[in-house]
Amino acid sequence: MRCVCETTRAFGLGLLLIPAAIGMAAETTDKAIEAIRAVGPQGAGNVAASAAVKSLSQGKVDDLVPILAGFDGANPLATNWLRAAFESLADRILKSGGELPKDQLEKFILDLNNSPEARRLAYEWLVRVDPTATDRLIPGMLQDPNAEFRRDAVARLIASAKALKDDGKDGEAVAAYKEALAGAVDDDQVKAIVEPLKAAGVEVDLQQHFGFLTIWKLIGPFDNVNLVGFEAVYPPEEKLDFAAKYEGKMGEVKWTEAATKDDYGVVDLAETLSPFKGAVVYAATEFVSDQERTVQLRLGTPNAWKLWVNGELLFARDEYHRGMQLDQYRVTANLKPGRNTILLKVCQNEQTEDWAQAWRYQLRVCTPGGAAILSADSMETTSR
């Protein structure tokens, strides 16, 4: 049996070692997070990340927020690895009778500098242990960068507006719907707001709300018989000269103006030009950005397409007639301050079925969360 002084000495030594142990643990956590953030395409880094997730999932409650912080700037694959590490650890803590750090999670959620996806993950685990967090947090998230938070906030306002309407408080209901519309980015919610507003005599400019690009210059048709046009480089891809004339599929072609009045910004090429088959049309427009910024261009089309911004090819896809949806494709684009040129190539094939006659597109500019970004030049859309 050791004497008291030995025990005391050992205890003192233990106290001295605790900060060192904490430091080592933190270093281990940081290294594990870095290993996960290093994952890349083709399974690169999977083996190291797998060991790191296992290590993190056996960690302590203090590791939860650092794991969330690791989302910042991580690629989409890495965030899923980090999500798994967080959930495995949080799950283990709760099942073993432990508690989640509610205050730290809430602080993390409220800090808009943190990753929107990590904030949402923190929230979903916070409400498991503190259901009151919903009423406390969601009402303030109408303009949140995270689309799920916005959706929750809008849903509450829609419910509130309906209740006001049912109580005969029409004026307050309209005000609530208008407030909801300010945050709504999902089409189902927008429709649920616009309809009662319209019934109340309030018109909503959907083109402006979603940020559709509505004024275009069109040129075509160029040849796409046997699908040759998708890969063919026609003159507008080499140089945008709106005064130029070119030899097209059926003779000389030149740029023409087109403006759509469709609420959802649909430009119907078959209707605007002619229902050509085996044809290519180019559509060009300008977008004025008040700053250098990264945006999402969201495209819907049932046709094959290529998209350029300021001459840089951003994406190309040769799929025909598999449906058209709002926000069907999301393409990240970097805009420069001032005028930015957007060029879209829309290809029609030669299918003869009724459902294969569609030749159309819609394009909007928005944030990663889906909120409209409008051109700074008020002449750029019909809505302003």
Binding site: Q42, E87, D91, D318, R322
Partner: protein
């Protein structure tokens, strides 16, 4: 999990060590060997929303993937959110239906689909120790049986044009140490052989540029542990060595892009020109065409071989029984369609659940088939049933059921 099931699994586990063979597992789309037959199981032949339901649980999202069963757990996938971007993998205790764990991920690929289908369309697969959950967004998640993430791939993240605007549904198959994934569409059409341990690609192959919703099948002589994987597409069939991706043989007379082939007795019965029976030859460049019949045309549901007969469900909801020898039709039996899920077989019966949630139990005979029971769960069901633990497992967009005698 029944005591017998635990004991059986334990004995197999002791005998085979890490290979983790659980007798009676249903590990992937249409069963562990992709035959859709579970002949050692005896599920009930009558049920309803209130009868012979061992348990039912609410699911957090949509899906038409089949449940799979590994040991004492039932695994199922789902997708949720306005854009179906949240991917769920769930594990339930097979005896109680209690949730063992859930893991969620954020889709890295496109999540738009036709309204009828959803992002959780492909059925997950398992090698007995790992779960491989695949989604229409081409996110591929590998977890251990306790929910620990082992690896993650984003196939559309890696190949941005691997997607289908109507949604994808091909279910991966695992054979040996390779997971075979078909991600085929009109644009960037690829198949992958994935190392089950690391998630890295053993091989990647260009595939026909045509939307394809069929699933690979295993052509094996040892119950699915080894053999070749048959990839079906609009151009026909390619038999692939799973480790190397080497094409062993091809059949080039076209095939359906919706119902998948089935293999039995070393012969592939492919939805091609009706049904074509294809026999690989050991020393030949091409397989032997045993027979072709245009009188048997499967609809969405994939064909089934059971007790020496071929069964298909056509788009009119008619079961057609045909000879394995020559494709001659023996009998037909009208059920009520439409069917999205494929029929499965056990204990001398065929089981097929239509889109309205009506489960048909059919007793097939030599000259006719008999509807034994019609069993209504009252919800839209698009999945293919799974059979294990003397039970039928089906799911809707909101529920998972274990149908078993109490």
């Amino acid at each position: 999990m029944t005591i017998q099931r635990i004991s059986r699994a334990a004995v197999y586990g002791l005998l085979l060590g890490a290979s983790a063979v659980h007798a009676g597992d249903w590990r992937q789309f249409r069963g562990s060997d992709t035959s859709a037959v579970a002949d050692t199981e005896a599920p009930p032949t009558k049920w309803s929303a209130n009868e012979n339901v061992s348990w039912q649980v609410d699911l957090p999202g949509r899906g038409l993937s089949s449940p799979i069963i590994v040991g004492d757990r039932v695994f199922v996938t789902a997708s949720s959110g306005y854009r179906q971007e949240r991917l769920h993998v769930l594990a339930y205790d097979i005896s109680s239906g209690q949730l063992a764990w859930e893991r969620q991920f954020q889709a890295t690929g496109r999540t738009g689909t036709h309204p009828k289908t959803s992002v959780a369309a492909p059925t997950p697969a398992s090698d007995g120790t790992r779960i491989f959950a695949f989604f229409s967004s081409n996110d591929l998640v590998c977890l251990d049986l306790d929910g620990q993430l082992l690896w993650y791939r984003g196939l559309t993240h890696d190949y941005p044009n691997v997607s289908n605007s109507l949604g994808m549904s091909s279910s991966p198959v695992v054979i040996g140490e390779t997971l075979v994934v078909q991600a085929e569409n009109d644009s960037q059409s690829l198949a992958f052989g994935i190392n089950t341990a690391t998630g890295e690609s053993r091989w990647t192959q260009e595939r026909p540029k045509k939307a394809n919703w069929t699933s690979p099948i295993i052509l094996s002589t040892d119950g699915g542990q080894s053999g070749v994987v048959v990839l079906q597409s609009s151009t026909g069939l390619h038999a692939i060595d799973p480790l190397s991706g080497e094409v062993k043989w091809t059949y080039a007379d076209g095939a359906s892009t919706i119902p998948s082939s089935v293999a039995a007795g070393g012969i592939v019965y492919a939805p091609s020109n009706g049904i074509t029976a294809i026999k690989p030859l050991a020393d030949s460049a091409g397989p032997e065409i045993v027979w072709t019949t245009g009188r048997v045309r499967p609809g969405t549901a994939s064909p089934l071989v059971y007790n020496g007969k071929l069964y298909t469900l056509n788009n009119a909801g008619v079961v057609v029984c045909a000879s394995l020898d020559n494709g001659d039709v023996a009998w037909q039996l009208r059920l009520e369609g439409p069917f999205s899920g494929s029929p499965v077989a056990a204990a001398g019966y065929l089981f097929a659940v239509n889109e309205k949630g009506m489960g048909f139990v059919v007793k097939p005979g030599e000259s006719e088939g008999e509807i034994v029971s019609e069993n209504d769960l009252g919800e839209t069901i698009l999945c293919t049933p799974a059979i294990a633990d003397n039970a039928i497992f089906v799911r809707s967009d909101s529920k998972l059921w274990k149908i078993a005698a109490k």
